[in-house]
């Protein structure tokens, strides 16, 4: 070439790349069956196992190889599988998404990483028009077994162009599946399901969850573990009010449920896991039991996930509702940067508690305290 020496530096600045640690190192003393696993590790191990099981699976995106992933999700994979299966792409989301879809048309199984889903807007034409609609438009002759994954929604102090939530955008498109994990079990099971799925899947992770640890059972750690697409999980059973959430908000909802329990309100928290297809039967069965619904999401309110859930419940379970549906969403403004403003733009535990109380006819102030 032009005498440009490609610098192959061992990742870690000299120290050997850490291999995927054997899971026994996560053993905790208090229970022989329960281990702790970070979401980051859950995603990494799912990618590793699927790449190992199927040579057609490959990873592409910015910084996924030498840098070990912008958020270290693909750590160790370049070293293990080589540059043919872990591709560091130039900066062109439109370009590499188009290339990924082309590879999927041919029969490979690309996993395309967006550094954040904000950048997927540069590629959205390929996601929708080249991937999502092809199977239908070809009446089944073309299959696009591709996964688009990356962090979605708000992080901490990253401003408007790095905090947008795309769940509602992608979930409105027939031909796409849209998943959003919360725990490590979700991350492993749903990513494996996504990679194995013959259709395009949008996999919405969360940057702030990457470092969180969750208990995982031996079944979850097994390489054949997989979660069904389109099934929600009831994280906490309750009988007074149903709270629906996905991704990071599930954690906040569980905290809200703890607070509500102390005040005599038993909240049922549903972790959606799958935004499209939405598990309408689980949601409706829950509302028929509790008669009250609070939908919570980080994204903008108009045309959001909560709006769809509300419509579904009204269509199927209107007679069971004892109170208007409460919708908690991010503030209807581009995400501000200053910490005090950002806090006000994203749902907090107190907002969920207040909404649940309103649904249960407890008197509460309407507006958040400044």
């Amino acid at each position: 070439m032009w005498g440009i020496i490609r610098q192959k530096v061992a990742a870690g600045g000299g120290s050997p790349v850490a291999r995927i640690r054997p899971v026994v190192s996560n053993l905790r003393n208090y229970s022989s069956a329960v281990k702790q696993m970070m979401v980051r590790e859950a995603l990494n191990s799912a990618l590793d196992e699927e790449m190992s099981a199927d040579p057609k699976v490959f990873l592409m995106g910015e910084e996924v190889g030498e840098y070990q992933g912008a958020y270290k999700i693909s750590k160790g994979l370049l070293e293990k599988y080589g540059p043919e299966r872990v591709l560091d792409t130039p900066i062109t989301e439109a370009g590499f998404t188009g290339i990924g879809v082309g590879a999927a048309y041919y029969g490979l199984k690309p996993v395309v990483e967006f550094m954040t889903f904000n950048f997927s807007m540069q590629a959205i034409d390929h996601i929708i028009n080249s991937a999502a609609k092809s199977n239908y438009m070809s009446s089944g002759q073309i299959s696009v077994p591709i996964v688009f994954r990356g962090p979605n929604g708000a992080a901490a102090g990253v401003g408007a162009q790095h905090s947008h939530c795309y769940a509602a955008w992608y979930a409105s498109v027939p031909g796409l599946k849209v998943l959003s994990p919360y725990s490590s079990e979700d991350a492993r099971g749903l990513l494996k399901a996504a990679i194995r799925d013959p259709d395009p899947v949008v996999f919405l992770e969360n940057e702030l969850l990457y470092g969180e640890s969750f208990p995982v059972s031996a079944e979850v750690l097994d390489s054949s573990f997989c979660l069904p697409i389109g099934k929600a999980k009831i994280e906490r059973e309750g009988k007074d009010v149903t709270i629906t959430a996905f991704s990071k908000i599930v954690g906040l909802s569980l905290k809200a449920a703890e607070i509500l329990a102390k005040e005599g309100i038993s909240a049922e928290v549903i972790n959606l896991r799958s935004i499209r297809p939405l598990d309408r039967s689980t949601i409706n069965a829950s509302v028929r039991k509790t008669n009250r619904l609070v939908t919570v999401e980080e994204g903008f309110p108009q045309h959001g996930v909560g709006a769809e859930i509300c419509a579904s419940v009204i269509e199927e379970s209107f007679g069971y509702l004892d109170a208007p549906v409460e919708r908690i969403a991010g503030a209807d403004v581009p995400m501000p940067y200053a910490a005090n403003l950002e806090r006000m733009a994203v749902p907090q535990v107190e907002d969920i508690v207040r909404a649940a109380k309103r649904a249960c006819y407890r008197s509460v102030p309407m507006a958040a305290a400044a």
Binding site: Q7, A70, G95, F119, A160, Y337, A338, N340, A370
Partner: protein, 343 residues
């Protein structure tokens, strides 16, 4: 039947004025810079370097959440700013605060934006380093890569329609040339004959992606011809070369109504941002070599010294007074407080 080769025998040559010791090559021609302008250029390069050091440290201390430096690219920033006029509309990427500095943005105003306090023109809505100023004709930094290129072409077209004696100037990195917007912007600028100067800071790295993984062409300069855009390759660490090239580009852009592409070869001495540790993907001695032997600020200082416009005493005085000024600003920033939501 003959195929055009994918690469030519020789690389496009690079225009240079000053050698590594800051002395003009015997046969080099360049646009003369007056003592006053040269001193201001040097002052601003030192200020930019100092500001980067102090604010980077402030991020490490947890006082601002994010920062990125312009280390190694001070000449591109300041010399290009010096060669254009205040009416020229600047549309930056994010590694060009020096242009704003040249135009009179104060240390206080830079700090206000980084800290997101009450005096911030952006009212705390933007991440640090997303500067912008209407009165300085410097469009607000946006995180999205290369989207500013078609914006600059549109602005240039408007300037042409208004028959203004001004052009648009836009900056981007080697990584930005991979974006679809680069193609659209260059193509459109040629077809619409827009007075826009495209300045590519080819600093060798797009986060961890080296240029060998970014493109297989001879850098960015050869892409100009593909679109019918006049181009030049310049030593980005040579302030006089940058000044001359941008000066000439501006005359052509406005006088002839055409776009110009300038590729400035340089090296990103700092990490991509405070969220990066570049020693993880490139050798430390490579970084050190560029930082010490190729420093554009040092090279320019040697030139102004050899002209008798500068000496060691003024140098120490400048360094210490700029450092004091920047530190003072960064320490007193909290007096402004954060903007509260008003109902």
């Amino acid at each position: 039947m003959r195929f055009i080769s994918e690469s030519s025998e020789e690389r496009i040559p690079c225009y240079r004025v000053l050698d590594d010791d800051g002395q003009p090559f015997p046969d080099s021609s360049f646009v003369k810079v007056s003592e006053g302008v040269a001193i201001k250029m040097y002052n601003d390069m030192v200020t930019l370097q100092t500001m980067d050091t102090i604010f980077y440290e402030a991020q490490r201390q947890g006082r601002i959440s994010f920062y990125l430096t312009t280390s190694g690219e001070e000449a591109i920033n300041i010399a290009s700013a010096a060669a254009i006029k205040n009416d020229d509309f600047v549309v930056p990427q994010y590694r060009e605060p020096g242009v704003l500095l040249w135009r009179g943005f104060s240390m206080q105003e830079f700090a206000n934006q980084c800290f997101g306090n009450k005096a911030d023109y952006g009212k705390g809505r933007q991440m640090p380093i997303h500067y912008g100023s209407n009165k300085h004709n410097y469009f607000t930094v946006s995180s999205t890569i290369a989207t500013q290129l078609p914006h600059a072409v549109g602005a240039a077209y408007a300037l042409k329609m208004d028959r203004k004696d001004a052009c648009a100037v836009t900056y981007f990195g080697d990584g930005g040339t991979s974006e679809g917007d680069f193609h659209a912007a260059l193509n459109f600028s040629a077809v619409t004959e827009a007075p826009v100067i495209f300045i590519c800071r080819n600093n060798g790295w797009a986060i961890s992606t080296p240029i060998s993984d970014q493109f297989r062409s001879d850098g960015a300069v050869v892409k100009g011809r593909a679109y019918g855009v006049r181009s030049i390759r310049v030593d980005g660490n040579d302030a006089l070369a940058i000044y001359s090239a941008v000066h000439a580009a501006r005359e052509m852009a406005i006088g002839e109504g055409r776009p110009i592409l300038i590729e400035a070869l340089t090296y990103r001495v700092g990490h991509h941002t405070t969220s990066d540790d570049s020693t993880k993907y490139r050798p430390v001695d490579e970084i050190e070599w560029w930082r010490t032997t190729q420093d554009p600020v040092t090279r320019f200082r040697k030139w102004i010294e050899s002209n008798g416009w500068w000496n060691g005493d003024i140098e120490s005085e400048l360094r210490s007074s700029v450092r004091k000024q920047v530190i003072l600003v960064s320490l007193t920033i909290s007096k402004y407080g954060l903007l509260q939501l008003q109902h």
